[in-house]
Homo-oligomer: 229 residues x 2
């Protein structure tokens, strides 16, 4: 249940306060001071939630929200807006742009964390992750099930997360450190070789279904999921 939150906020004091609160709530925080930084931070891996200041240098938060909604990768990422009291804003416009919630400054960190958790839970409840298919494998996110053709595959929690990450990031090699970050969560201390073991377990559970070679070793780098050998 380790979540990544992108905080788009130009005021350093608020940013630090928010970051402190979120880290205490076991979330990973990424910063961006303006819209451009936000977009480039997202281009790598989309976060689980975006905390967006209403007033930003260059581009308003609303404008950024619209752009995020327009892009495939970020269309489903929940957005929470931060607005200063008195800033007259058109709530309807915001909600039409797909903003999930508002928090009015000044706010207590307790309230902010509570709202974030509520939104994350709701986002997860709605389809969140649909179903993905690749290389003869199908993974049903909502049902939390994995299929090879018609037969279901029994799989452990970590193997499930690992496979899910691989399938949503196919055709690309990841280092062990990156996999630990993405699959285990950034704040755990685990030996890198542990990844090898889980890759091995995943390969072994897929093997009886004739699914070999899906997870490929990239020597000196890490692993890659690919439907083509």
């Amino acid at each position: 249940m380790h979540k990544r939150v992108l905080v788009v906020e130009d005021e350093a004091s608020i940013r630090d306060m928010v970051a402190f609160a979120l880290r205490k709530a076991d979330m990973e925080v990424i910063h961006a001071a303006d819209a451009r930084a936000a977009l480039s931070a997202i281009s790598d891996t989309p976060p689980d939630l975006i905390l967006l200041d209403w007033m930003l240098p260059g581009m308003t938060g609303l404008e950024l929200a619209r752009r995020l909604r327009a892009e495939e990768r970020t269309a489903e990422v929940p957005i929470i807006m931060l607005t200063a009291r008195g800033e007259e804003m058109d709530r309807v416009n915001g909600l039409e742009a797909g903003v999930d919630d508002y928090v009015v400054k000044p706010f207590s960190t307790r309230e902010l964390v509570a709202r974030i958790k509520a939104v994350l839970r709701r986002a997860q409840a709605d389809g969140g992750t649909g179903s993905i298919e690749s290389g003869g494998l199908r993974i049903d996110g909502p049902a939390h099930r994995v299929y090879a053709g018609d037969s279901q595959i029994e799989i452990g929690p970590t193997e499930y997360r690992l496979l899910h990450f691989f399938m949503t990031h196919a055709e690309r090699a990841y280092s062990r450190a990156q996999l630990l970050d993405q699959v285990w969560g950034g704040s755990v201390y685990v030996e890198e070789r542990t990844v090898d073991v889980h890759v091995r377990r995943l390969r072994k559970t897929l093997e009886p279904f004739g699914l070999d070679g899906l997870i490929q070793t990239v020597r000196g780098t890490g692993y890659r999921f690919s439907a083509s050998p």
Copy 2:
């Protein structure tokens, strides 16, 4: 696939936002600012779904829901309640009155549309009888009864709500927190492990009827209702 939705809401801004979102999702929207307007709007032709604000001038949404359920013409029309955060509402009473789902304000239009579609899909699936059948189990919503074949199953209130939620959300894994949200209501604090105990009790009452494996454990995540193992 063109559905008519009646929106009963006195606040103009929310009404407009909802109307905008629903029209974009290819639905027809009818307005009503209070309970009386709602009743007269319905007397013409009942809609496919009713979106009901909790707080209305004159009559509470819950009261209106009960009256709608009492009338033959509207007894089968699905109802979704809108409640503001902090408005103390008794989710249990709502469910007894036949409310199909709750959405807490502020909500995102994406979330609202998703929930509406889900409820419509379910309503269509049960053929308008208000009863759901799955995995050899049948649950009669209006009568609050559960059957395995011809024999009725005695079941407690919480177990009933839990089973009802599971059957209306089959083939999907839910965390304990989500189940507490949906079945117990968001405003109560109970331990997550309590869910385990009720799942256990539910399994035990279903077992004598040969209904094993319907409620499945998803390790590290929660539970899932499914007719297939």
